[in-house]
Amino acid sequence: MKSSVITFPGSNCDRDIDVALNKFGFKNKMVWHDDNELPKSDLVVLPGGFSYGDYLRCGSMASKSKIMKSVINFAKSGGLVMGICNGFQILVETGLVPGVLLRNKYLEFICKNVFVKVDNKENPFFKNLDKDVFEFHIAHNEGNYFCTNDQLKEIEDNNQVAVYYCDNNGKTSENFNPNGSTSNIAGVFNKEKNVLGMMPHPERMIDQCLSGEDGSIFFKNLINNIK
């Protein structure tokens, strides 16, 4: 399975996701933001970091870079695209996934483990997972997912919410909302469910001696789904 990770100026989780993808069997290629062409890929990942320093709005300038034209075309023709953290912010800026990401409620960067609940498995990312609650790591300053009530209804009706922040039993409540996100939303899909944006970093959870191994479960399942 071939994957591509885009490096933007200021990306800093590009190596981490490269390590994770290769570890679970992808043949990964790093792609420079200023390139025009995307190599042939089964999965494109927009990594975490601070593209363009997070200046202006997170992800805004990266969303205008050359390679993004190809990424958008790839997504529109049904290709799998995943944006993690800053990658999610970039996806939001392109309009590929709905909503926006505002500053965290308490205006502080948060780096810690959280639990998220997957409740829609009818998609290539989560299909066949035999587990609903995952412990993932977050590290962000602007992960406060916001959308209007009408939008919220629409994305919920379309099953577009990918993951919710919750406790270790899968209970979602404001107490387990780390950043003020609307309805505890931690990640969303596009309508067609081939584009996923999420704040948590599964690539930081791929080894027991790091923050845990739930990321390993996610990636192993992902590559099996694509095969």
Binding site: L56, S60, M61, L102, K105, N144
Partner: protein, 80 residues
Amino acid sequence: MRVSAIITLKKDVLDPQGKVIHQALDGMGFKDVNEVRQGKYFEIDVKENDPQKAKSLVEDMCKKLLANLVIENYKIIETQ
């Protein structure tokens, strides 16, 4: 010539920064505040010297990059 643009969050969009600043002001003794909203301000020096053209150039920048029209409004406020 210099053109300025102000970008503000739309009315129904949550403004976490404004809210925290409001609380901070309150804590400092500024009790008479109803609301604080934070926005962005840009001063852009363009080569264009015709005020009308310069403004519409900056308006174009707002639409294409500076503002996210899903949640933000922009206003071109002044030219010098």
